[in-house]
Amino acid sequence: MIPGRFDYYRPSSAQEAVALLAKLGDEARPLAGGHSLIPVMKTRLAAPEHLIDLGGIADLRGIKVEGDTVVIGAMTTQHDLLTSKLIAEHLPIIPETSALIADPQIRYLGTLGGNVANGDPGNDMPALMMCLDATFTVLGAGGERTIKAREFYLGTYYTALETGEIVTSIRIKAMSKATGYAYEKLKRKVGDYATAAAAVVLTVSGGTCTSASIGLTNVAETPLLAEDAAAALIGSSLDKAAIDKAVAAAEAITNPAHDARGTPQYRTKMAGVMLRRAIARAMTRAHG
């Protein structure tokens, strides 16, 4: 399995990368960790003529805290996320999710930026980013702009990124220590994409749920923000009736493909099961 021919560029700044992308046009693609792009190049589903390797751009990698916001460079790897003290402290749902992505080798190279920009509904980070209300900073030859994760996913492999733009960083508000959270993923084996998965963050005060946010992975053409499901939890005591209502609301918005992981009906039900488990685990972690 040998990819088609391409020219290789390794710029050392993001500005240089977007200038190259602008100059080379539609046939140019950024290369991050390569663990979604190289497989599709091997099967020739993708045959870009120019690859712009972002791996030489030191500024795109790293994690820092600015006020109440965690800023993660696009080239930060899953392995970086799993081993970062800052992420463990401020956004512990991220390493919980990273650990369920692919396998150790792939996590050394696969990046957060590549995972969110790829546009594959099977990727785990996009639903989590929607759940956490992340903002992507995007750079193009014309300058910088920001796009909310919740407005980024338009279809399968179709995102709000314009040709020639790259994601440079991901900004997420730090979670308070009192926030309950969980990412639950059903997969057939290590290294498999989700049959269905659910991300939940919620807060509780005096026994009442005061905020909730829910993302669903791989059960529609895009990752889903389950707003009605979250609304069913807010104001409730997270009793069985409220959770049943949330699960029904989440199942109602799924539209999974029929694939080797199961029928649409099965995968919808599994989305409900993952959500139920994630809520239960988030509840045990919420203080207040």
């Binding site: 088609g4 080798q105 050394y108």
Partner: protein, 166 residues
């Protein structure tokens, strides 16, 4: 589509070569560097037979372009034993615990376990199993591979290992 000049340190030796950008690292290592220790199992990023150590990471060399490894420090299974041929603790563990049958997965398993033990010199059985979850073995059922890695960890930590291979 010009060839690109790359330099790398492979098993402690500086090498330079011209590569086509589309050349995968596994093909570069096997066909240009004649290092046939890293194997091609699936060629689809699943089996881990092609695992090599690159800049202190275990990577599947079928899913890395050789040009991405320009300037990298690479260790393959050929670089695991000492210069005089003395086996590493892991190689010895695989020998003593029967950690292989056909041997196809072994270079990838040992190379992956090498990095695992550097990062976590005293892993639990669960950590070993999750640590080698990107490597598939069709023969052993993993039981003796886990023991081989436990044997190596014990050797590295200077403690006796009493379990027998299954």
């Amino acid at each position: 589509m010009a060839k690109t000049h790359v330099t790398m340190t492979i098993n402690g030796q500086e090498v330079e070569a011209l590569v086509e950008p589309r050349t995968l690292l596994i093909h570069f290592l096997r066909e240009q560097m004649l290092l046939t220790g890293p194997h091609i199992g699936c060629e689809t990023s699943h089996c881990g037979a092609c695992t090599v150590d690159m800049n202190d990471m275990s990577v599947k060399s079928c899913t890395v372009f050789a040009v991405q490894a320009n300037g990298a420090n690479i260790t393959t299974i050929e670089g695991m034993a000492a210069a005089d041929g003395t086996l590493s603790a892991l190689q010895e563990g695989f020998r003593m615990m029967h950690g292989l049958q056909c041997g196809y997965c072994t270079p990838g398993m040992i190379t992956r376990a090498h990095r695992l033990l550097i990062e976590n010199p005293d892993p639990t059985e669960d950590e070993i199993r999750m640590g080698i979850a990107g490597n598939i073995c069709r023969c052993t059922g993993y039981q003796n591979i886990v023991k081989a890695i436990q044997y190596a960890a014990a050797t590295i930590n200077g403690v006796p290992f009493h379990e027998a291979a299954e």
